[in-house]
Amino acid sequence: MRKLRVAVFKLTSCSGCLNEVIYSMMVHPELLRYVSISYFTELQDLNAVEEVDVAIVEGSVVNSEQEELVRLVRERAKLVAALGTCAVFGGVQSLRVGEDLRTTVLASYPNPDFIRVSPDVKSLDSVVRVDYRLPGCPVNGESLARLLVKLVLGGTETPIHESLCSECKRKGIPCVVVLRKEPCLGPVTVADCGALCPSFGRGCYGCHGLNALVVDKGRLEEFSRVVERLGMSRDDLRALLKAFSHASLSRLSSAG
C-alpha cells in the first residue's frame, strides 16, 4: 500500500491542535506505517515543502509570509485540511481585528518593521481553497484521526452539520438554558465537542465556531435577544463570536 504523504504546517496559533495530530497517531499507531510525513517541525528535524496527498494546516494567516507559504502549500498538496478554529475561523487573536495596528500595537516595538502582522486575521479559506474544515479549539482529536484513517484507506470525509444542542439531546444532558437560566451558545455553534461545557454544568462559549449553514443574520439577531435576556450583553456575545467565529461573523455582516 502506498503511503499517504502528509505535511503538517503551523501558522499563528497555540499549537494545541498539532498535539491532536500527534494524538491521532497515538490512538492509531498503525497510521505511522501508512503515513509519511515530509513536514512537521514540532516532530522532526528535516522538513521540506514537497508534493503531498494532504496538507494539514493549523493556525490563522496574519502576515504576507504566511500567505505565501499557504499558497505554496496549496500548489503542492492534493488536499488541504484546515485544522482547528484558528485555521477555520481565525481564532481568538481575531479579537484584535478592527484596531489600528500602527498606533496601538506597533507603537510598542523599538523596531516596528521586525513585526510582520497584517491588520486582519484571516482564515485559511480566505487565502486558498480548502477541502476539509475541522473546527474546534482544540479540534476533536478523534475526528482528525477518523479523517486520516479514511484518507489512508482512500476514502473521504462526509461533513455533518449540526448544532451543539443535538449532542446534548442525544446524550441526555440537561439544557443549561432551561435548567440554570444561563446563556449558552450551543444553538448557534457547530457540534463535535461532545457538548463538553453543558456536560460540566456551564453554557457553551462557542469554541467550535458558528454553524454558518444554519445561522443567518436574522437568526443570529433572534439569538442575541434570547441570550441578552439571560444576562449576556450584545457586546459580550459579539466578542465571543469574534473570538471563535471571526471569518463567519464577517461574512454574515457583509451579507447585508
Binding site: K10, T12, S13, C14, S15, G16, C17, L18, N19, E20, I22, Y23, M26, V27, P29, L32, S36, T41, E42, L43, Q44, D45, L46, N47, V62, N63, Q66, G91, V92, Q93, L95, R96, E99, T104, V105, A107, S108, Y109, P110, N111, F114, I115, R116, V117, C137, P138, G141, C193, L196, C197, S199, F200, G201, R202, Y205, C207, D236, A239, L240, A243
Partner: protein
C-alpha cells in the same frame, strides 16, 4: 551568520550564530512566531471570561494559564475557593505537568540522546519505549478529560473554583490504571537514565521558582531565587529586570544583578528536591543524582523526577477523592488590591497581573511567561560552550540542542505588551 530553524520544540523560533573569522562570536535565540497580542485582546473582557481566553495562549500548558488568571482575580475580588475545589484544580494542573513533561521527554528530547532526528526514526528503533511513553501521555490525557473536560483548553476552571466534580467512578478508574502507568513510566525513566549520556559539566546557572507552602511547588505567594532572595507576587515585575531585543518577538528577563536565570523543572528541582518523595529521591540516587543539577541537559532528569513525584501526588488525590457538589463561590463586587498571581507552569514561573475597571472588566494586563524568562539563560549557556569554536552546522546543532533542553514554549513567549496596556496607571 549561520542559522537553524528550531525543530522538536513548540512554536516557531530560530537560533542564529554570528561568526567572526569563522568562529562563533555571538548568538541570537529568535522567537519568530507572530504575536497574538493576548494582553491586548483580554482588554475589555469581564474577569470571569478571562481564564478561557488565556488558556488559548498555550496548547501545551493551558491549564496553568487558566488557573493563574483565576487566582489573580480570586485575590483581588476576595473569593474564598472551597478546599475540595482547589484540590481538584491542582490535580488538573498536575495532570498537565505529567502530560507536558512526558511529551517532552519521550517525543521531543529523547531523539537527542539517541542521536535521531525524528519521531518516525524513534518509532522504528525504540517502539517499546515510544509505546510506554504513549501510555503515560494517553493516561494523562484521560485524567485531564475526566477532571477538566479535555486535553487542553479544559472547561472546568472558573474564577472561584470549578464548574463540577467528576464522577467518583471515573476517578476510581484512573486510580486503577495508575499502577500500570507508573510501571511504564519507570521503564521509560530507566531507559533514559540508563543511556548514561546526559552531559554533566557545570553551566553557570541561577534559578528561580515560586515559593510554595511545604509541598513541591505548584502555586505560591511569590518567588524565591537560589540565593534566598524573595519577592512577593505583587513585587515580581519590579524585582526582575525586563529587556527587549530587536530580533525577538518576546520580552526577556534577568535577575536584579543583571544575570540570566532559569525557571522550570531544573530550578524547581534544585530549590525543592528535599520535598520530593522518598521513592523519587531513591530512584534518582540509583543513577547518581543526589545533589543539584548543574547542566541544562539534566533538565530531563528533573522532568523525570517531576513526572514520578506528580503521579504519586495524583495517586494520593485519587485515593482521597470524594464527589461533592460545587459551591459556585461568587466574588466581591469591588476590587481590593492588585490582581496578581504566580504559579508553576510545566516550564516554570508564570506571572499574571490585571487591572479591572468598575464593571470588573480588564483595563490592563501583563503576562510573563516561563520561556521568556529562560531566553537570556539559553543564550548565555550557548555562548559558554560555543564561543570561539568553528561556526559550522555542527555548532548550530549543539545550540539547538541546548535550546531544546529548556523545553521552550514559543507560542506562549510571544508577548510583547502593546503600548498603553502595561502600566497599572
Amino acid at each position: 551568520m549561520l542559522s537553524g530553524l528550531l525543530t522538536r520544540v513548540e512554536g516557531e523560533g530560530q537560533v542564529v550564530l554570528k561568526s567572526a573569522g569563522g568562529k562563533v562570536a555571538g548568538v541570537e535565540v529568535r522567537i519568530t512566531e507572530a504575536p497574538r497580542f493576548f494582553e491586548y485582546i483580554v482588554g475589555g473582557r469581564r474577569y470571569s471570561e478571562v481564564p478561557d481566553l488565556t488558556s488559548r495562549i498555550c496548547g501545551l500548558c493551558g491549564v496553568s494559564y487558566m488557573l493563574t488568571a483565576a487566582k489573580a482575580f480570586e485575590k483581588c475580588l476576595s473569593v474564598e475557593v472551597p478546599e475540595d475545589e482547589e484540590r481538584l484544580r491542582l490535580a488538573i494542573l498536575a495532570a498537565e505537568r505529567v502530560k507536558s513533561h512526558a511529551i517532552h521527554v519521550v517525543y521531543l528530547h529523547l531523539p537527542d540522546f539517541l542521536e535521531l532526528g525524528s519521531l518516525s526514526e524513534l518509532a522504528e528503533s525504540y517502539s517499546h519505549i515510544l509505546r510506554r511513553g504513549m501510555e503515560i501521555a494517553l493516561w494523562a490525557r484521560k485524567a485531564m478529560e475526566v477532571m477538566g473536560g479535555r486535553f487542553h483548553n479544559v472547561v472546568n476552571v472558573r474564577v472561584g473554583g470549578v464548574y463540577s466534580f467528576p464522577e467518583a467512578s471515573k476517578v476510581a478508574k484512573l486510580r486503577q490504571e495508575l499502577p500500570r502507568v507508573l510501571e511504564g513510566f519507570l521503564d521509560v525513566a530507566r531507559f533514559v537514565m540508563g543511556l548514561g549520556n546526559i552531559p554533566g559539566e557545570a553551566h553557570r546557572l541561577r534559578y528561580m521558582a515560586v515559593r510554595d507552602g511545604d509541598t513541591y511547588p505548584w502555586v505560591g505567594s511569590g518567588v524565591i531565587t537560589d540565593d534566598g532572595s524573595y519577592a512577593g507576587a505583587d513585587a515580581f515585575e519590579s524585582f526582575v529586570l525586563t529587556e527587549q531585543v530587536g530580533y525577538s518577538n518576546a520580552l526577556r528577563y534577568r535577575l536584579p544583578t543583571g544575570e540570566p536565570y532559569v525557571v522550570g523543572p531544573l530550578a524547581r528541582y534544585n530549590l525543592y528536591s528535599g520535598r520530593l518523595r522518598r521513592e523519587v529521591r531513591k530512584f534518582l540516587e540509583e543513577y547518581g543524582y543526589g545533589g543539584p543539577l548543574k547542566n541544562v541537559y539534566q533538565s530531563v532528569v528533573a522532568r523525570i523526577a517531576e513526572i514520578y513525584q506528580t503521579l504519586l501526588e495524583l495517586q494520593e488525590f485519587f485515593d482521597e477523592y470524594r464527589e461533592k457538589s460545587v459551591a459556585r463561590a461568587e466574588p466581591a463586587s469591588a476590587v481590593r488590591g492588585p490582581c496578581v498571581a504566580v504559579t508553576e507552569a510545566p516550564r516554570g514561573i508564570l506571572y499574571h497581573r490585571y487591572a479591572l475597571d468598575g464593571e470588573l472588566r480588564v483595563r490592563s494586563c501583563n503576562i510573563i511567561t516561563p520561556t521568556a524568562q529562560n531566553l537570556a539563560s539559553m543564550e548565555e549557556v550557548i555562548m559558554s560552550g560555543l564561543t570561539g569554536v568553528d561556526a559550522d552546522a555542527r555548532a548550530v546543532e549543539v545550540a539547538k540542542g541546548i535550546v531544546r533542553s529548556y523545553d521552550p514554549c514559543i507560542s506562549c513567549s510571544v508577548h510583547v505588551v502593546p503600548a498603553g496596556c502595561t502600566p497599572d496607571a
